[in-house]
């Protein structure tokens, strides 16, 4: 069952075409790893999917419902209220965590439930504790982000996204800002979510992780999908030259 349908998605920053017509169907339960060199548009693609960036052209449909309406010049016009609904259904985890530093870990996880959902405090708190326990941070509930390690911060950020019951999760390089020894704890949490059958799109440089967790791998180049397929197809037997070159440069120092 298709949860997300993207057709002809384009995005331009100034004179640069960052996305040049992306077509993408995401089925429920799919886990898609998005790879690509820096500047290939992978983060922008992800940010367009929950409208952190407004798409320049093309359409995005969530659960068969095409978002926005056609404007006078043929462009798509989005109402803020509609986008707010979308963002609650499509959770996002950022490279830089973006935790709220003035709130404790549990405060961060409760925030969406309280402010956006208007959930009563005891209920929101119980739910937030459950999510923190799920990412293994029950005992850090009252800790402020400044006193958490990078890995712990990212796990709180994941709990914060999960608390909103998203139908789909977007991970934007979730381990790129972490010290190497902290990457594992975050990947383990993401792996556990994968095993629950959650739908997720993951921009990452962790090829090994992508191989193990993804059901599909997409290789982006110059703002377009250059190659895609199962992890075996794309990561082990890439057909296109650029994919091979990218993988080679990433495996250069592996042994």
């Amino acid at each position: 069952m298709t949860i997300l349908n993207v057709t002809g998605l384009t995005k331009r920053f100034g004179a640069t075409d960052v996305l040049r017509g992306i077509d993408l169907d995401v089925q429920r339960g799919e886990r898609i790893a998005i790879l690509g060199a820096s500047g290939s548009g992978k983060s922008t693609l992800l940010r367009c999917l929950n409208f952190m960036e407004r798409p320049g052209g093309g359409t995005i449909a969530l659960d068969g419902q095409v978002l926005g309406r056609e404007g006078k010049a043929g462009e798509r016009v989005y109402r803020e209220a509609e986008l707010i609904q979308v963002r609650q259904r499509v959770g996002m985890v950022f490279q830089q965590f973006n935790l709220f530093p003035h709130m404790t870990a549990i405060g961060n996880v409760m925030e969406g439930l309280r402010t956006v959902r208007g959930m009563p405090k005891p209920e929101a708190e119980a739910r937030a504790r459950k999510e923190l326990a799920r990412v293994g941070l029950a005992e850090k509930a009252e800790t402020y982000p400044a006193h958490l390690s990078g890995g712990q911060k990212q796990r709180v950020a994941i709990a914060r996204a999960l608390a909103m019951d998203p139908e789909m999760l977007l991970f934007d390089e979730p381990t790129s800002a972490l010290d190497p020894e902290l990457v594992g704890e975050v990947l383990n949490v993401i792996l556990a979510l994968a095993k629950e059958g959650r739908t997720m799109l993951l921009v990452t440089h962790e090829l090994g992780f992508a191989y193990h967790v993804a059901t599909r791998v997409i290789f982006l180049a110059d703002g377009a999908i250059h190659e895609q397929g199962t992890p075996d197809e794309v990561l082990k037997n890439p057909k296109k030259e650029r994919t091979r070159a990218f993988l080679a440069s990433h495996k250069q120092f592996s042994f």
């Binding site: 929950n50 963002r87 935790l99 925030e111 956006v116 402020y144």
Partner: protein, 219 residues
Amino acid sequence: MRWDFASVFDNTDALLVGAAGTLRIFAICLVLGLSLGLLVGLGRYSRNRWIHIPATIFVEFFRNTPVLVQILWFYFALPILLPFQISPLAAASLGISLNSAAFSAEIYRGGIQSIETGQWDGARALGMRWGQAMRRIILPQALKRMLPALTNRAIEIFKMSTLASAVAYVELLQQGKLIASLNYNPIEAYTAVAVIFFVFLWPLVQFSYFLERRLKRDE
């Protein structure tokens, strides 16, 4: 020369009336100035030019004209344009509040802009509206950074209240002048006024230090 503080102490009740007047205008201007400043500051930050441009004009106008002139203008010129008299308190409060709003608007704008865009991302990704993100995520962090500057504003407002004496509003300086002219003791009278100001303001500054420390709990 001989100091004659006795004649000042004889007029303690006049100074108390003055102190009450100073506190009253301070309270009015603090609340009006800082809250209007927040609105104007948000306006300066707005991408909508119908909000942005008037806010900018307001700031530039009140930042670049002297408060004293504004107070005198509100007191003497406004009643000519409008069909009603204006009290010294109202004229002085208007001048000081609008001036403080213009200055604090810049503090708010700078404070809000200093918050990393990632905080907006985090808030928006949860489905927050602009106002919710501002109230829950951006402003609390920005206020912490702005506190020293806002404290300076409060102190400035307190001291600017003396300008109200120009339209004969009864406050500390006005009462000091009165005592000085009745007893020919300007040195002692104005010294007393200065000491009273210090006694009010010093605890205010200490309180702001305390607040800053409290707000640093999350670090």
